[in-house]
């Protein structure tokens, strides 16, 4: 964690305010688990202090060779995970359109049959002995990332008697400040389950949902090997200085 992003002066500005009409509200009863887990009192607004604008750094040196290859990182030698082979790639940007260098991107997902390798997942679809379901990578100087995986299956969940999650990959992103921390999910272009999903529909704004749907990119496909999906992630932007009364440095 002591690596430093080269060639870039650290930024110390506070982050742009989050848009509460864009993110899902805490209480969204269509997704039943929110009912008892949503704070009901108004959050206290807190202008970013140094505790929010700072954050840890993760160096490329902590990554193993197969961390970004979920087809192989849990597989026995010479074997590979079952399912449609895909590449997921894109950029981590901030709201100013700047690439976020050195961002830690961690992903997890179900296998091609829609089953998670987790003792609490009782779905009858088979486990794939060669698929673990976790991967990670760190963005390059321009904010680019990529990983290889299999396309996850849709799966049923007990929110309603016949509710199915669309195919998705969970994403956790660590940018440059602790207040930029974000967890979200990537969906796949054309999946009809997206628009029926109560978790997707916690998001009030259709444009915000569209922003979570990855597109098939035939130009990034590896012929005879893997299709490619492009998924850009946007983190909060930041002001140019920590304190508004100091305008130098703009």
């Amino acid at each position: 964690m002591t690596d430093r992003r080269p060639n870039r002066a650290p930024e110390t500005g506070s982050f742009f305010q989050r848009d509460p009409l864009w993110h899902p509200p805490a209480f969204a009863p269509g997704y039943k688990s929110t009912v008892l887990r949503s704070p009901r009192k108004a959050p206290i607004s807190l202008d970013n202090t140094i505790s929010e604008i700072t954050g840890p750094v993760f160096g490329h040196s902590m990554l193993g060779d197969l961390d970004d290859d979920m087809i192989h990182n849990f597989a026995k030698p010479g074997e590979s995970a079952i399912g449609p082979r895909i590449i997921v790639y894109g950029r981590v940007l901030d709201e100013r359109g700047k690439g976020v260098a050195g961002a830690l991107v961690e992903v997890w997902q179900a296998n091609a049959g829609g089953r998670y390798r987790h003792k609490r997942d009782g779905y009858l679809a088979a486990l794939d002995p060669n698929f673990g379901g976790c991967g990670r990578t760190i963005t390059d100087e321009d904010g680019n990332y990529a990983f290889r995986t299999i396309q996850p299956g849709a799966y049923p969940w007990p929110n309603g008697p016949n509710e199915w999650r669309p195919q998705h990959i969970h994403f956790s992103i660590f940018g440059h400040g602790f207040a930029q921390r974000l967890i979200t999910q990537m969906y796949f272009e054309g999946d009809p389950l997206i628009w029926k999903c109560p978790i997707v529909r916690t998001i009030p704004d259709k444009a915000a949902i569209d922003g979570l749907i990855a597109l098939l990119d035939m130009n990034a496909t590896i012929p005879m090997d893997a299709r490619a999906y492009k998924f850009d992630i946007v983190l909060r932007g930041r002001r140019s200085t920590m304190f508004e009364n100091r305008l130098e440095g703009n």
Partner: protein, 204 residues
């Protein structure tokens, strides 16, 4: 037509779901051999400066049941009040302290636990010192946008009394929800998502 500010919009948050540990603490979730260790489990080493403490507690839902599928991350200054971050411009933090921890809540008991050190004080925006505190970030199934709060220390009554963030809380009877109780070297910080004891969460 006016010009456009051309700012992008932040990607919308989605719940971490019930299987967040597969991705963020896979060894804890029994997925072995992919990463050598789960990130954020070791905040200190034998050379870390400062008073060793344990921070632990549970997260209760609106029925009073401890949540057993949450993920907690913390971020704090070192013993001298410096953050181990490139955005820390006041000096160089203790290289033997990461400042960042990640822990699951126990699948049976619901307790999270961090082995860390007591942080020093860091300045508020106007230069006044804040009381020692630890920033918390909580993700779980049923939480659509991860929750942000702060833990303050029960043995820092004087510093807490002059803390500019605690001072901002209008309903004074809610301030104790942010203050961990000390027993020996262990600070217990329970978090209540709803109800009379609902923890103060921050819109940061």
């Amino acid at each position: 037509m006016t010009q456009s500010l051309s700012h992008l919009k932040e990607s919308a948050s989605q719940t971490a779901g019930p299987y967040v540990h597969i991705g963020l603490t896979p060894n804890f979730a029994d997925i072995k051999g992919v990463y050598p260790a789960d990130l954020g489990t070791a905040m200190v080493d034998e050379k870390t400066k400062g008073e060793r403490i344990t921070v632990t507690g549970r997260i209760f839902d609106g029925s009073g049941t401890p949540i057993r599928d949450a993920l907690v991350e913390i971020w704090q200054a070192d013993a001298a009040g410096l953050y181990n971050s490139p955005s820390e411009t006041r000096g160089s933090a203790d290289l033997h302290f990461t400042g960042w921890g990640r822990a699951p809540t126990d699948m049976e008991t619901g307790y999270y636990r961090f082995e860390t050190i007591k942080p020093g004080r860091v300045p508020f925006r106007d230069g006044r010192l804040m009381a020692p505190h630890v920033t918390f970030w909580i993700a779980a199934r049923g939480i659509n946008l991860a929750l942000s709060t702060r833990m303050y220390f029960g043995d820092e009554e004087k510093a807490n009394a002059e803390d500019p963030v605690l001072a901002r809380i209008e309903h004074r009877n809610r301030v104790p929800s942010l203050i961990a109780t000390r027993e020996g070297s262990t600070f217990t910080f329970d978090i209540y998502l709803q109800g009379d004891k609902e923890t103060v969460f921050f819109d940061i």
